[in-house]
């Protein structure tokens, strides 16, 4: 394990430097500890960005490359030494090497406090956004009366102090390892292997660049594709390509085919881009999934595809942001497709406004919607029932693939939208059907015949 240590002082003689020097030699068997100098770091000035200067680059690279950081702070006027605060300001300005870096705070002072106030202030500073260090909780190493604490060889003389420092160091090293393995796990979660760039061609992949605007035309020429009056044999029936188009383009929903290489290869093109619920241009067909989704949504896209590909669920459903209860309820459904042998072959995504269907049903059955008091009904269907949209950066490291279904709509909810429409988990606004108090027009029993 590689650690770096910084004494928060630029004085010629520093007891805190002495302390980190002792730590580095005494606990060399626990970790390789390199002491970094902050002597040449200029005064922070936001008007004069010196992030690229050698002293700051040196610190940035050393900290980035280390598994953890030990900071030893003196206490000046009840707070962190200005020299140390100054370094942290540079390292939270245009570079952020402390982000998620396991950090241990120690400190020494002349009198009884042993830098206690400075350590508390330093903890607060390190936890500020922009710094983002992971400061080890609970353990404090406060070295008081530092002028008499070291012997002539630079060793701490008090055995109990050395023993305690040893236990703190052992705990820190363990803590660094635990955090490291957690971060490792985060990056090896199975859903991350989904390649949204469609870089893993399958047996149906056509050799035409995915981004080509005339991907369909090029592909059709390459494959000598059937068209117009050509007959296609289907399960189960026989249609011409024209007939197939008439058929697909009159389903009351927008349907999209994304194949098992995460390439978008078809949509039923019966509306112009601007009239679509999930807008799409004809030239986008052939795009890789990454090209059809904003960067911020891509982890979610991967999670959903992985859920379907790995068979955790066959269907994922979610309402879109901006829906209005009892007026418009646009749903996206993602359905896994499989071949005859059960192999995953892509996603059938369909999008429709479900409200007109509900409204029509209510009208025909003479019912009305009532809010269920405190109900936690499921507004969505399928596997997403209890899901909660997660930020793309915080997948659950502990649970891995088996819990991926607890993740995420394809597009993160817009913050300002009302609860009812923000995503798969927002179920409380769902309104279960109940019959009206007086059975008014029991059409439902009798059908459309108006008996």
């Amino acid at each position: 394990m590689k650690l770096v240590a910084i004494a928060g002082s630029i004085a010629d003689d520093s007891y805190n430097r002495k302390l980190v020097t002792f730590i580095a030699s005494k606990y060399a068997d626990l970790a390789d500890i390199e002491i970094l100098s902050i002597n040449d770091v200029p005064m922070f000035n936001q008007d004069d960005d010196q992030t690229q200067s050698a002293p700051i680059q040196y610190l940035t690279h050393k900290i980035e490359a280390a598994d953890g950081v030990i900071l030893a702070t003196p206490e000046h006027n009840h707070t962190v030494a200005p020299a140390l605060k100054n370094v942290i300001e540079w390292l939270s300005f245009n570079v952020h090497p402390f982000t998620n870096k396991p950090t241990l705070i120690v400190g020494a002072s002349y009198f009884t406090q042993g830098s206690s106030r400075a350590q508390l202030a330093l903890r607060q500073i390190l936890e500020a956004p922009g710094v983002g260090a992971l400061v080890m909780p609970s353990d404090e190493f406060l070295l008081a009366d530092v002028r008499t604490a070291f012997d002539d060889h630079g060793n701490l003389s008090d055995e109990r102090t050395v023993k305690f420092l040893g236990s703190v160091m052992a705990k820190f090293v363990r803590w660094v390892s635990v955090l490291a393995s957690m971060q490792e796990k985060t990056h090896t979660e199975p859903w991350r292997q989904e390649d949204l760039d469609a870089g893993r061609p399958v047996d149906t992949t056509i050799d035409v660049p995915a981004g080509a605007e005339d991907w369909v035309e090029q592909g059709a020429a390459k494959t000598n594709a059937a068209s117009g009056q050509d007959y296609v044999k289907l399960d189960r029936g026989l249609l011409t390509v024209d007939q197939l188009n008439w058929f697909l383009n009159t389903f009351p929903m927008e349907a999209t085919f994304m194949d098992d290489n995460n390439q978008f290869i078809y949509y039923n093109h019966f509306l112009d881009h601007d009239d679509m619920l999930a807008p799409c241009y004809p030239s986008q067909v052939g795009n890789a999934a990454a090209m059809c989704h904003p960067q911020r949504a891509q982890d979610h896209v991967k999670q959903v595809i992985w859920m379907l590909r790995s068979g955790q669920t066959d269907r994922f459903a979610m309402p879109v942001p901006g829906n209005k209860v009892n007026a418009k309820w646009i749903m996206h459904y993602y359905q896994a497709m499989h071949d005859a042998d059960g192999n995953y072959r892509g996603v059938n995504e369909w999008v429709l406004d479900t409200w007109p269907i509900v409204a029509d049903y209510l009208k025909r059955t003479g019912q009305t919607l009532v809010q269920a008091p405190g109900a936690q009904a499921d507004a969505t269907t399928g596997a997403s029932a209890h899901s909660k949209p997660e930020a793309p950066t915080t997948p659950d490291a502990d649970t891995g693939a088996s819990e991926a279904k607890a993740a995420t709509p394809l597009v993160p909810p817009v913050a300002s939208t009302p609860d009812a429409s923000t995503g798969a988990s927002e179920t409380k606004a769902a309104t279960p059907l109940v019959p009206p108090v007086a059975p008014s027009t029991p059409d439902a029993d009798t059908g459309a015949s108006e008996s």
Binding site: M43, N45, N77, H78, K85, N86, I88, S92, Q124, I125
Partner: protein
Amino acid sequence: MKHYIGIAGTNSRHSTNRQLLQFIQRHYAPYATVELVEIDDLPLFYKTKDHSIPAAATALAEKIDAADGVIFATPEYDHAVPAVLSSALAWLSYHISPFAGKPVLITGASYGALGTSRAQAQLRLILESPELDARIMPSAEFMVGHSLQAFDDNGDLKDETLVRQLDGLMKDLQIFVDINTQLVHSLNAEAADWDEGTEE
């Protein structure tokens, strides 16, 4: 008329904290003089072997010594006061004590909503340390949030409520300075009595 030193805790050319002090200087000119000083010519603090301090620190200390009080306007970096300010305060308490017993008002301005609340709390702790020993005006805080939008073209604070709050604080500061002077006098007198007593 009271004379105050205004210290903006920054070395930045454009600072809404300096702007705030300039507003205070102008707005309360009929009642007090506020001299704005800069801290950007002080080097990063380090302990000198001979306890010497930079000439700029000595000059600053003399000004503070001669003033009735000090008004700080601090930015907030990483939930704390900027290093350039804590460094200046370290010099101003390194074997000198211009802040000892000195009335202080703490203010601050920030781009975000919080108006440097955390930095001000920390500055209070720093100024209360034995080496600085300042007399911080109790329960007084003044925070300008969204400071980039807070001033009009003339450099005046737009928010009337904030200006009224500042009016009150500046009046309180004047009284606080007087009370503090009396307190120092009576403490000195008592100390003298006590000294005489022990000599007997």
